[in-house]
Subunit: 464 residues, 2 copies
Amino acid sequence: MFERLLSPESVAVVGASSKPQKIGYVVLENLKNNGYRGRIYPINPKGGEILGFKVYTSIEEVPEDKIDLTIITLPAEITVDIIEDAAKKSRFIIPIAGGFGETGKEGKEREKKLLEAAKKYGARIIGPNTVGIYIPGTGVNTALVVPERSKFPGDGDIAFITQSGALGLLTMDSVSMYDVGFSAFINLGNRIDVTENELLEFFGRDEKSRVIIMYIESFADGREFMRIARQVSKKKPIVVLKAGRTSRGGKAASLHTGALGGSDAVADGAFKQCGVIRAYDEVELVDYARGLAYGKPIRGERIAVVTSAGGVGVVTTDYIESEIRGIGMRMAELSQETKRRIKEEVVPFASVENPVDMTAQASDDDYDGVLAALNEDPNVDAILVYALFQTPLISEKLVDIITKWHHEGLKPMVVGTIGSEFALEMMKKFERNKVPVYPSIERSVKALKVLYERAKIIDYLEGE
Amino acid sequence: MFERLLSPESVAVVGASSKPQKIGYVVLENLKNNGYRGRIYPINPKGGEILGFKVYTSIEEVPEDKIDLTIITLPAEITVDIIEDAAKKSRFIIPIAGGFGETGKEGKEREKKLLEAAKKYGARIIGPNTVGIYIPGTGVNTALVVPERSKFPGDGDIAFITQSGALGLLTMDSVSMYDVGFSAFINLGNRIDVTENELLEFFGRDEKSRVIIMYIESFADGREFMRIARQVSKKKPIVVLKAGRTSRGGKAASLHTGALGGSDAVADGAFKQCGVIRAYDEVELVDYARGLAYGKPIRGERIAVVTSAGGVGVVTTDYIESEIRGIGMRMAELSQETKRRIKEEVVPFASVENPVDMTAQASDDDYDGVLAALNEDPNVDAILVYALFQTPLISEKLVDIITKWHHEGLKPMVVGTIGSEFALEMMKKFERNKVPVYPSIERSVKALKVLYERAKIIDYLEGE
């Protein structure tokens, strides 16, 4: 039902402007520059032309029965004045402005008017007080940021529902550096009509979205969320960053989005029951999403680690085994056969115990041989392989070798890497190949744990 | 006493080679390209010329009484053959090759020969089985990595002592992305002569080094370490990544460096007693170092948070206040006067409670005014300010404003940022200005905790 929102055939921009610093200009410019292929209707009483588009003086004038998406970039008080006209002509409406419920009684009255108009004509509202939506695949982007100082990600597998627009945009900006892609980004804003629940249900069915991530300060309807999340989790993973988990954080959230959160222990229990994976910050949110979107669930605790840097293997072992500062899983005891095969591959002074340390003498082919052996070892439940590109016998081919084992191997795999510009380029390659890759030891290890949790969730929900 | 090692007036390379893939070539090339200004003596029985340097056919032939630093790039068995000649002519010797104690009995015999020669002539040995040293300030670099695929950091404030060469190089490579600088990098290798203890003592006195970081799998002499660390900690911070903290990690360490670690609880207690701050991975190690090198100790638990993204403020509040997933500190209760002053600065719908949320309407000047107010609030012990560059009214000037408050303000400050390429450029600016900046919420918050720990360490050690 949200297809027309994410992939609108027509978009109206009410409050279109010819001034480049205005949101009513930026939205039009985004539509133009991001390759949006539908019909565009700028609306401004002055008429004329903006960015080559004919400007309509009112929304009634637009020569369509129903516009798929109407974006209102006007202040709250004017938004209220034109909402009835907009609702009459639109399937979806995004009122961008603040100055609604978040500001007090008067704002709440305004929201009531928006909602009445929407109900009357069967239009649906995202927001108000929202940065809106960003849909890489269709080129729709309603967010006002400075393009020279922020980046938008490309098309991908992650659907992102967020109660905080800014946190959402910042998160997407930061992961753009690794070429992480998104299927959709929706900022709920004041959430007077469309809530996270309907969207969750929708993305649960959406084939483009392999994983759903959410930033939430309070649930519109917790029970309903649980019911839907439980269904969706059977098909695809959901990762939730529930902010305001401490009492002071909850207070901050109530000032931010008016959220009234309940006890965090209750939320935690609820998430477990409905198969939701929890993230605690913006980095975990996307890290976990990428792991879950590209990785296989891990059914068992025994991890094999492959590295060319001994110290990295030791720190990784600590993180895997430790309950206190770590994930509390186990290092696999490699079979004799595996050790024998690894010994054939690597230099004499390498370690054939787990962590397998191939030393700085490791070659691309060594990796290939070691991954082949580990993939056949019945004592191994998953593999964490470090792709370290600094040593002489390693080349970019290592990305292809690891990608092959990720997609064709039997065992779930996570990739870690450490480095600067070159490592970043290789991370982008892995990302394009849909291989979960992380730029630090801890982040790599945490991805293992999430894939392990995912397996338990699947078994638990299927067992019902 | 290690001045001649870090800043040698003459360097000999025994095993100098004209083949670019050989370590005996790379070391010479590094000396040439990194601006090393001392005298260089390539040694190779074939003589001739390499990279424009005259090659000496033996070390005896070198026209100096004592060479400050002799790097031996030959295999273990040949290193043993020439060690006496090298020891006779050198103050410091770095035998790079593996094939010593780490390989068994025969290798141990070789080490004995190295040490005997060194003692006999008063030379000191770093290694063997080491990537050696990297001194950005003097251009000495003995590490063999592929320059196109790894970066070396510039000159800076961090002294890095590591038992694992590869982990050390990878860590330096990755933080080069943020232009983090180092005063010295020394890989202990098999540590047959010079240990971490002498180096720690030296860097404790070295004015260039504002903080000392260590990657250690086992201590050469734990008691001695504690004695020295206690002294050094009074003057400057020490951060230690002690790997092999789990029993399985300890086993991996013993295969890696032959480390025989004791109980981790014992290590933890010892660190506390001698004022050592503990890091658990390569990211924390340098994050903490930067915080401690540039930041002021935090004397009190009350943190003020400044943000232009509400959600970032909420997640930060959770991390600050939570004992379970967080640092267990407290959000400051701002004084009425502070709130009044902030209200004058920011837009009407901004939050003047802590976290101070200036919203997407925040300007550079708003930051300036808010930081001025917070710096005078007696209820605030430290400030975490998020520099987010994506919104329209923010410019690069924000870096200067925050830098000013960091250096001139009364309160300790930590800076967080979230973003991609542009944020990275701003991080480099902060780094050059010696402002501790972190690219995520969690990393920013953890830096606060470390500065708080540092204050407690100073008080505790001074109280003795």
